[in-house]
Amino acid sequence: MIELPPPKPETLAARPRLIAGLRALVPEDGVIAEALCLKPYETDGLAAYRQVPLAVVLPETTEQVAAVLRFCHENGVRVVPRGAGTSLSGGALPLADAVVVGLMRMNRILDINYADRYAVVQAGVTNIGITDAVRERGFFYAPDPSSQLACMIGGNVNMNSGGAHCLKYGVTANNLLGLRIVTIAGEILEIGGTHLDAAGYDWLGLLTGSEGQLAIVTEITVRILRGPEGARAMLAAFRANEVAGACVDAIIASGIIPVALEFMDRPAIHACEAFAHAGYPLDAEAMLIIEVEGSAAEQDDLLGRIRAICERFDPISLKVSQSAEESAAIWKGRKGAFGAVGRISPDYLCMDGTIPTSRLPEVLRRIGEMSESYGLKVANIFHAGDGNLHPLIMFDANDPESFHSAETFGADILKLCVEVGGCLTGEHGVGVEKRDLMPVQFNARELDQQRRIKTAFDPDWLLNTAKVFPLKPDIAHAA
C-alpha cells in the first residue's frame, strides 16, 4: 500500500471552525461534512485506496473556488481537486485533513463559436457533454478517454487525457486554447484565450497534465473540430503478437495514419468476446482494430490499402466493416473491455505505460512470464499507433495477498516500460498509484526541478499533496 502523509493535528482539531468558515463561502448545501454524505467521496477510479476527507465543498462559480482556496491557504488546509472521480491513478484520492473541492456543479457550457471553432466550458462539464453540445453542427471535441460519458473536462485537463482516437487528433494538451485557473492564494488567472499561440511561457502546456499540483482549473476553452464525412473500422487477427506488431509497423510505414489502431492480446480477445459477443476470432493470438475516416470512397481506398498490407502477414481473419453497424460491433468489444475483464475477475488494476512500439512483442512476452510467476492473469490492450499499453491485472480485493501481488506486478510492468525506453504513464497520470515509481524515470535533480516549479505555484504544498512526487522530500519542502 502507498503511504499517505499523517494528517495535521491542528487541522483536524479545527474541523468545526473550518466547516463553518467554508459554509460562509458557498451556497448552503455546498459544504458536505456529515460522515454518511462524505462516504461517496472517499475514493475514485482506483478503488483500492479509500480515505474520507475533512469536508467536501461544491462551489458553483470561479469566484467561490477562489474564496475557498484563499480560506484554505490562510488556514494551512490541504486541498484535493475533484471532477467526476474517475481517475485510475488515485488523482482525486482525499486525505483525512484535506478539503475536497468538487467541480461538478460548475457544469455549464458558456460559449460555442463555430466560426473560430472553440467552446468555453466549465470544469464540471463531461467530456461527452462538449461533443453533445456541438454535434448538431457536425462538430466534436476530439480526445475521447474510455470514461468519456462520466469524466469531466477539468479532470481531463489535469490528467492530459488521451483516448483511442488521439493517434490522429492528439491528446487534451493539443486541443486546448485557454484556461481560467485559481491559484492556492485565491487569485484568478486567465491563461491563453481564443488564439492559437500564446505569448510568454507555455502555462497552458505546463498546467495540462499537472494533476492538480499547480492550481485549480475552473473554465476551459477547447478547440472543436468538424467531424469527418464518415468512419469505418476493420478487424485483423494474427497468429502471434510479433506478427500483429510487424503489421502495425507496415501500416505506419505505408504512410497511413489510421484514426485509431488498437491491439488486443489473446486474453483480452477472449474476455471481450465473452462479454460483448462481437464476433472476435477466439483462435487468434493478437487482434487489431483499425479505423479510417473520410468519404465512402476514401474509406474504401484506405481500407483496401490496409487490407493488402494485413494480407502480407498471414492473417487468421480479416473483417472489413461494410456499415456503421458493423463498425459499432467491432468497437463494442474493445469499448467494453474494462467491463469484460471485471466480469471474469472480481477486481483488476488497469496499468498505463508507454513503450516504443518496436518493443511490443518483447514486452508482452515478459509480462506473460511475470503473470505466471505472480500467479495473476493479465489481459493487454494497446493503443498500437502510439505505444500506450494497458495491461489489466486481475486480482481479488478480498485477499490482501492478492492485491499486494497485483500492485507489485503492476510496478514491475511499469519499470519494464521505462527499461525499454518508455514511461510510467501515457494517459492516466501518476496520481498516488505511481508516485513512488517516479525515481525510476527521473533522477533526484529532475524531481527537484519539478518540485521547484510546484513550489513556485503552491509554496506551502497544499494542492493535491501526496500525489505525483515521492512523499518524504515533499514533507521537507512543505516544512
Binding site: A198, G200, G205, A253, G255, G294, T354, R452, A456
Partner: protein, 402 residues
C-alpha cells in the same frame, strides 16, 4: 564579445555552472538566425552557442520519432525525415530572409522560439510534437523531461514549458520530435478578389468543413504578387490547402470548390505550385517590408484577423493572414507609435503579439510580448528562479528585468 561553442553536453553544463557561480549573464544562441532581431536584446558578457552540439542521435521512422542535439541544422533533420517519406509536423518556418540571419537555423532555436508554419491550424504547434528534451538549467544541472514515446504524462510537462521559453529557463541540448508521414499529394483551392473579412469567412467555412484543411491563408493583392504561383490572379487570394493521398486530394479540392461556390468561382492549384506557394507562406515571403520596417507577429482568434488588417492599413503597413485569419504577419516603419497601434489592435481583439524584428534601441524599450497580469508575472518570476536563480540565461529576452 566572448563566444563559447562547446561540443559536448557536459561542457555546456560546465560553462553554465561556472556562469551561475559567478552570476555572469550568458546569451544563449544557435546559429543566430533569429536572436539578433527578435524580442528584446540580451545584455550579456559572454555568448554560449549550441551550434557545435549537433547531430541526429536517434531516428526510428516506424515509431515516428526523431531525436537530435540542439545545434543540429533544421535542414539536416528535414532531409533525414524526407528520405523516409516523413515530415516535421508543425512545418516550422525559415525566417532567415525576414530576420536577416545568415547560416542555417538550428533545431534548438526553432523549438526555443516555438515557431510553426501553416499546418499549425490543423496539426498543432512545434511544442505539440516535442516528445522529450534534455536541457541544462541555470545552475548547470542536466535535466530531462518526456522521452522517446508518443504518449507520456509522467510528471510536469517541461517539454512544453521549455519550448517557446527562448533560452531563458534552460539551454535545450537535445530534442525528441514526433514526426508523421509526408502526404502523397498537395492541392490548393484559391478564391481571388475577396477582401479580408470575406476571405476569412470563406476560410472559416473551409475549416468547418469535413475536408481536412491543412493550410488556410489570406493574402492581399500586393502580397499575392510576391508569390510567383499566385501573381497571375492579380488580386487578393484566399487559399485552402489539402494534403493527403492523391485520390483524396482530387476529391476534397473539388468538394471544397463546390462548398465555396457562394464566395465565387474557385481555382485549383496542383501539387507542384501548391508546394511552392505554401513554402512561401510558411517563410513569410509574401510580406513586403523595407529595411527600416519592424516586423510583428500577431495571434488572435481567426475572425479578428481582418480587424488587425484594417489597423495595419491605417498605418500604411503591410500584412497577410495565415492560420485561417488567426496569425497576422505585419511590417511597418519601426516606430514606437506603430508598435502602440498594432499592439492596441491585438489587445482589443484579445490577442497577443511578438516583436520579431526592430532596431535594438526600439526593442529594448518596448513590450516585445504582452505584459502579464501582476499575479501571473509573479509566477513567471518564481518559475524563472526555479530554473535560473541567478538570472543568467538570456536575461531580459522576454521581459525587462527577467
Amino acid at each position: 564579445m566572448n563566444a563559447i561553442a562547446p561540443e559536448a553536453e557536459g561542457e555546456i553544463a560546465d560553462v553554465i555552472a561556472e556562469a551561475h557561480a559567478h552570476a555572469t549573464p550568458l546569451a544563449l544562441v544557435g546559429n543566430e538566425t533569429k536572436s539578433n532581431a527578435m524580442l528584446r536584446p540580451v545584455q550579456a558578457a559572454a555568448t554560449l552557442t549550441l551550434r557545435n552540439h549537433a547531430g541526429i542521435s536517434l531516428y526510428a521512422p516506424k515509431e515516428l520519432i526523431i531525436a537530435a542535439r540542439a545545434g543540429t541544422p533544421l535542414a539536416e533533420i528535414e532531409a533525414a525525415v524526407a528520405a523516409e517519406g516523413q515530415q516535421i509536423i508543425a512545418e516550422p518556418p525559415d525566417l532567415s530572409a525576414l530576420l536577416g540571419g545568415a547560416g542555417q537555423q538550428t533545431l534548438g532555436g526553432i523549438v526555443a522560439c516555438n515557431l510553426s508554419g501553416p499546418r499549425r491550424i490543423t496539426a498543432g504547434a512545434m511544442r505539440d510534437h516535442v516528445m522529450g528534451v534534455r536541457a541544462v538549467n541555470g545552475t548547470g544541472e542536466v535535466i530531462h523531461s518526456g522521452g522517446r514515446v508518443l504518449k507520456n504524462v509522467t510528471g510536469l510537462d517541461l517539454c512544453k514549458l521549455l519550448s517557446g521559453s527562448y533560452g531563458t529557463l534552460a539551454a535545450l541540448t537535445e530534442i525528441t520530435l514526433k514526426v508523421l508521414p509526408a502526404s502523397e499529394a498537395v492541392g490548393t483551392v484559391v478564391l481571388a478578389g475577396l477582401e479580408a473579412e470575406r476571405g476569412v469567412a470563406a476560410l472559416a467555412a473551409a475549416l468547418g468543413s469535413p475536408f481536412g484543411i491543412s493550410g488556410a491563408a489570406w493574402l492581399p493583392r500586393e502580397a499575392a504578387a510576391r508569390v510567383p504561383e499566385l501573381a497571375a490572379f492579380d488580386a487578393a487570394v484566399t487559399l485552402a490547402r489539402i494534403e493527403d493521398f492523391i485520390p483524396s486530394v482530387a476529391y476534397r479540392t473539388e468538394r471544397l470548390r463546390a462548398e465555396w461556390a457562394g464566395f465565387g468561382a474557385a481555382a485549383i492549384l496542383e501539387d507542384a505550385p501548391s508546394r511552392a506557394l505554401w513554402r512561401a507562406v510558411r517563410d513569410t515571403a509574401p510580406l513586403g517590408h523595407a529595411s527600416g520596417d519592424a516586423i510583428w507577429r500577431v495571434s488572435v482568434a481567426p475572425s479578428a484577423g481582418p480587424r488587425i488588417v484594417a489597423a495595419v492599413a491605417r498605418l500604411g503597413g503591410n500584412c497577410f493572414l495565415d492560420w485561417g485569419g488567426g496569425l497576422v504577419w505585419v511590417a511597418a516603419p519601426a516606430r514606437a507609435e506603430n508598435h502602440a497601434a498594432i499592439t492596441h489592435a491585438a489587445r482589443a481583439s484579445r490577442g497577443v503579439w511578438w516583436l520579431m524584428r526592430a532596431p535594438d534601441a526600439l526593442r529594448a524599450s518596448l513590450d516585445v510580448v504582452p505584459e502579464e497580469a501582476p499575479a501571473l508575472a509573479r509566477i513567471t518570476r518564481r518559475v524563472k528562479e526555479a530554473f535560473d536563480p541567478q538570472g543568467i540565461l538570456n536575461p531580459g529576452r522576454l521581459f525587462a528585468g527577467l
